[in-house]
């Protein structure tokens, strides 16, 4: 009989009745040869179809399956958070319920963890989705995220990821943040690795994502950068944000002083430059104040005292597919 499982596979499920039996079989086929104890946690996000019944069938035939039914539909991230909270394995693997990820890739991810990574993110190098609607926006977004955060993950949207549990245990998972878990955990000192994984076209059902995420990605970027690098000292982040305005302010002030005689006469560029300088100055002050407010929030929550997590790992850290 199984003891404490070593690996937990978390599968958020929403309307996937057709693919689940295949998925379960594939997971078992991929993990059985490893000889490690594992469990598969299916989190049913209140599917409208028979998904839950299918999961319960799987649960009856295989004791390694655990089923979690949620009370209300909450979306993929929260469903995943439920899986994380109930995971018992040292290693947590997340995988899509729609068979687009290939469970045969899981051993590769586990391998990378063995070799010293704390978080392994799948990279669907050869994506089988529409180019214009799915791949292009994602390519663009991922490049931006990599550029801004300094964590070069090619494919934040890939659900197939593996984590050492202690790394993510301290990270709050909410809203759509599961995409940014690697980036966020890198902010607290985790070592991120990336593995090219297989991506298969959809066999059942339809895609549950839509377009219209471009603006959101930009906003998410601001947030991810702030949370991954500055969550302990937000004032620095706000100070950084004022930099462009401060530069502009200095330039305008110089321009105003150069046209100083127009300021007194009241008609000329000098006046406008002075006014604009004043507005920019106000903006800079406001930003610093907001930064102080944010600092206050962090201090009040006591979060600054929980030291950035430095995961213990004795294994060597080979170069190669390890990106960071």
């Amino acid at each position: 009989m199984e003891k404490v499982p070593d690996i937990t596979v978390v599968v958020p499920v929403f309307d996937e009745e057709d693919s689940l039996p295949t998925l379960q079989a594939e997971i078992v086929r991929a993990l059985d040869p490893l000889g490690r104890a594992f469990e598969v946690v299916y989190v049913d996000d209140r599917s409208a179809d028979r998904s839950l019944a299918v999961i319960l069938d799987l649960q009856r035939t295989d004791g390694r399956v655990r089923a979690i039914a949620l009370r209300a539909r909450v979306g993929q991230t929260a469903a995943m958070a439920a899986g994380f909270d109930h995971a018992r394995g040292e290693v947590v693997v997340t995988i899509d319920g729609d068979l687009q990820n290939d469970p045969a890739d899981i051993p590769l991810l586990l391998d990378a963890l063995e070799r010293g990574a704390d978080v392994v993110s799948g990279w669907r190098k050869d994506r089988r989705d529409g180019f214009v609607l799915r791949r292009l926006p994602s390519l663009f977004a991922n490049r931006l995220i990599a550029l801004v955060s300094g964590v070069a993950v090619h494919d934040t949207g890939c659900t197939l990821k593996a984590f050492r549990r202690e790394v993510v245990e301290h990270l709050p998972i909410y809203a759509e943040q599961h995409r940014f878990l690697p980036v966020l955990s890198a902010g607290s000192g985790a070592r991120i690795s990336e593995i090219v994984v297989n991506h298969r076209p959809r066999r059942f059902g339809r895609s549950k994502y839509g377009l219209g995420r471009a603006a959101r990605v930009l906003l998410d970027l601001l947030v991810v950068k702030m949370l991954s690098s500055f969550s302990q000292r937000p004032l620095s982040y706000f100070a950084l944000l004022t930099a462009p305005f401060a530069l502009l302010l200095i330039g305008l002030l110089a321009s105003a002083l150069a046209n100083a005689e127009q300021i007194t006469s009241g008609n000329g560029w000098g006046t406008v430059a002075l006014f604009t300088t004043m507005i920019l100055f106000m903006a800079c002050v406001y930003f610093v104040m907001l930064g102080l407010l944010a600092e206050l929030a962090v201090k009040a929550s006591g979060m600054h005292r929980s030291r950035p997590h430095r995961p213990l790992s004795t294994a060597g850290f080979p170069a190669g597919e390890i990106v960071r």
Partner: protein, 339 residues
């Protein structure tokens, strides 16, 4: 090797009170002393007994007494285990009545009814059946209405607007004859006009909501127009609530949208003046639009700054926010032997 595991069902604590599976608690908010309490209780009892459902009535008096109160007292002395009365000291509105009723209710299914026999009670059967089949919330739709056309028009217009704004395909929010699982109210703080929008709110919270056509028997009150203010307040209430709920975890989505709009507008203004200055050589200092543009740009930047502070606050508090609620976990008993 693996023997067939025994299935053990662990259940999350479902509130302080023990609930009766399958039992129905009927909550009736009473707002007028002329309420036909006796008739409602009689009609619903008859139907529930026909369905052989375990049931109880909870009559919540919204600060009113009068004939209805006496009637309710009589009913509850007659059948003390079936009829309970709750008297609020003053009028708090139907939402608070519902909350008070929920506190007392012991059934796993709650049924709310107007204070008179508005729709044919035979709808209870299909409603409860739908819940047994996995729906969380069943609301009724008076497809053929019997009230004056003026009221009907207003009501339909109100429902239409609500449908547009909240994106919920419900036709009749004004009929409070509804059945739902107790879980729907478990973590909901009810106030104001929320009772009216309850199906829409439940839907937005991720519960499964369905609609059932009912037979409209009669309607209280004559024809009349509600003021515009009444509707505006109702809609604002629900909008505020829904948007707050939606953006709590992602404040920058909200602030970013507003701030971005200001930035775009302001940037366009300033850029327009600047381009004219470069092309035509008209002086920037003669154009107040430039300064207004710069001001708006900065306003937008500030608003985004507020959003960022919001994000920080949410991030620091996120460990206290749990987005999901577990209904049930199935796992094999063998796995649970460890401490």
């Amino acid at each position: 090797m693996r023997s067939a595991p025994a299935v053990e069902e662990t259940r999350q604590p479902a509130g302080r009170r023990s609930t009766h599976a399958g039992a129905v608690s009927v909550i009736i908010p009473v707002t007028k002393p002329t309420a036909e309490v006796g008739e409602v209780v009689r009609a619903l009892t008859q139907e529930l007994e026909r369905l052989s459902r375990d049931h109880e009535f909870i009559l919540v008096f919204d600060g009113v007494r009068g004939a209805a109160w006496l009637e309710a007292q009589r009913l509850s002395t007659e059948r003390p285990e079936k009829v309970h009365t709750v008297g609020l000291q003053q009028s708090f509105g139907e939402s608070v009545c519902l909350s008070a009723g929920y506190e007392k209710a012991r059934g796993a299914i709650l049924l709310t009814s107007p204070q008179y026999v508005q729709v044919d009670p035979s709808a209870i059967g299909p409603m409860l059946a739908a819940i047994d089949q996995g729906e969380d919330f069943v609301t009724s739709w008076r497809r053929r209405r019997v009230d004056p056309w003026l009221n009907r028009l207003q009501s339909n217009l109100f429902n239409w607007i609500t449908r547009r704004i909240i994106h919920v395909k419900l036709h009749d929010l004004n009929c409070t004859f509804r059945a739902f699982r107790r879980e729907v109210l478990e973590e909901m703080h009810l106030y104001g006009d929320m009772y009216r929008f309850l199906p829409a709110i439940a839907f937005r919270q991720g519960f499964r909501v369905t609609e059932l056509e009912v037979v409209h028997l009669r309607e209280w009150g004559g024809a009349g127009l509600f003021g515009v203010g009444v509707y505006a307040r109702r809609l604002l209430d629900v909008l505020g609530m829904l948007f707050l709920a939606k953006f709590t975890l992602k404040p920058l989505r909200f602030f970013g949208a507003i701030g971005g709009l200001f930035m775009l507008l302001g940037g366009a203004m300033a850029a327009y003046i600047e381009i004219e200055h470069l092309v035509k050589g008209s002086g920037v200092y003669q154009r107040p639009l430039f300064l207004i543009g710069v001001l708006m740009l900065m306003l937008g930047v500030q608003i985004i700054g507020f959003g960022l502070v919001g994000e920080i606050i949410i991030y620091t508090q996120a460990r206290n926010l749990r987005e999901y609620r577990v209904e049930r976990i199935w796992e094999s008993r063998d796995d649970r032997e460890r401490p």
